[in-house]
Assembly symmetry: C2
Homo-oligomer: 330 residues x 2
Amino acid sequence: MADVAAKAGVSRALVSIIFRNQAGAGRETRERVLRVADEIGYRPDSAARLLARGRSRTLGVMFTVHQTFHTDLITGIYPEAERLGYDVLLSGATRGRSEAKAIEALLSHRCEAVILLGPDADPANLDALARRTVAVSVSRRVPQARVDFVHSAEGKGVRQAMDHLVELGHRRIVHIDGGRGPGSAERRRAYRAAMRRHGLEDEARVIPGHHTEESGVETGRLLLDERDAGRPLPTAVLAGNDRCAMGLLMALTRAGVDVPRDLSVVGYDDSHLSHLMPIGLTTVRQDALLMAEHAVRFAVERLEDKELQPREAVLDPKLVVRGTSGPVPG
Amino acid sequence: MADVAAKAGVSRALVSIIFRNQAGAGRETRERVLRVADEIGYRPDSAARLLARGRSRTLGVMFTVHQTFHTDLITGIYPEAERLGYDVLLSGATRGRSEAKAIEALLSHRCEAVILLGPDADPANLDALARRTVAVSVSRRVPQARVDFVHSAEGKGVRQAMDHLVELGHRRIVHIDGGRGPGSAERRRAYRAAMRRHGLEDEARVIPGHHTEESGVETGRLLLDERDAGRPLPTAVLAGNDRCAMGLLMALTRAGVDVPRDLSVVGYDDSHLSHLMPIGLTTVRQDALLMAEHAVRFAVERLEDKELQPREAVLDPKLVVRGTSGPVPG
DNA sequence: GCGCTCTACTAGCGCGCTCTAGTTCGAGTA
DNA sequence: TACTCGAACTAGAGCGCGCTAGTAGAGCGC
């Protein structure tokens, strides 16, 4: 920076002003300085900038690398953060790299706030985190911690899906659980409630699972084995999420089960996977873009006004009927 | 830090020494300082630390959020970087956020080197980047730029796949191209060469596509339409990558085509998708872990020895035969 | 008692930037 | 002409740490 200043014949302060796009520099000088900087190959050093102004204007995002819905969220986080003048740093949790480690990395890189996508950490740890910094949880409610919370109204989504299936004449509707996955508990509860409301409690069945393709494949196998053992297939399955629905579809289709003629499948998320199948996956749309925007806004607003209390945003999901759901067979 | 020093009754320098785990502090003092720091809630400020020592020991990774193989690579990058004492920062390219922007973000966060996963940027830009910093390209060769390069021997992989198919009796083998995707050109060439080598040049057919599920679905539709118009289906398809193979499988299976009885499908990458299908995808395994390790090591070694020239690592891929390939029908 | 070494510690500069409180100068105003 | 005012620019402190060069004092052999 000193070099640029010297070569352009101005003070360092003016160079600083120009690079911050601040008023107070003549048009001509501005251009000259920028040209010189370009020649020298000067780029402002963010570490020093950070240190000097005491703020990083950076948001950290913790996500799980293999969750497709997270990548959809990230796609929405970037533009909204940029709009508000913030940088985004990503830190992935993988097998072999815990969420705690991922979060630690973000903090040590001076993120002012962290956005956690479907965190699975111990609530106590999250609370400790929330005391140190501004934190936003997406998809997972953590009542014990002072965090903002963005999610969709799981109950409403499941209810729409169930009403849709019942309207199509389905009664033997099975739910594949999402285990400890974010939103699973709510979805499970809503499934049970819907079955009860439609007078189908005797048919209600929750099969334990996860939010992964593997889980869908396994459940598919299980159902097929049961069929071979004499128990009829359900006529509809409400999967824990889209990935699970995908796995299930692959397993069933592979075995000659025609979806939706023989069996209907409904997913959850409307991640970009849903459009892939030639017939399209009927699923409950969580608006990733909108969720991302809320998460970013919550974080930023709490950064700018420290008195603000953590908030909760509940977005209405919407059933998207595509090709994997149809009238009950027969 | 000054507070800690004051409260513990020592100098700031000693606190610094203790927090860097350096020799030169008494055991007793060390404990006292750490205790005091904990009470105050002091955490070393990485921006200042960075500024003072002039090195960040941070690697930046640019990836495409929706590419499953990239997430596999990331899973391998983290542990290797940690082993070598480096931090990792992720920056994703998405629709609406170009690679250039993603890379810019990494640099401005003071990454000492950038690892680019399947970069699709203009070679000239990459070269400009390579002059500014240490850069490693994974999967995509950029001969014009001073970057390290890690890839698998596409030719060998394709050859193994083709030999496998020909051994099974296939002759009408189609290749779905990966467009501008990394490795596509090499795979296409190797496909053509293999067809020629087996005396099948008349049967050779390259269908333009991309490294996405959508592309697989589209190609599936195309092939089915052609079949309905009287042109026989190929007996085997070599897809551009696993995602493409997945899309193809969904489209075909959906239409009642039995894989592998009626048609064999071979993917490329062995991303975690490959294990999902009940029968498993026959694919060419690129060892993501090993590729990740090489990429990290190249970057780090060039950082520690500035004289080092960019290098190239070619890893041998390996055909993994699973359930989607079988003898030619009839 | 002396010089020597070794451990434990400290003073203070500098990393590259931002920001406050100025100074300079030319144009506008009474 | 004398004064004000705003735009353009500058000096220099300070952000929180790392590091070099140094000091104080204890322990040791002779």
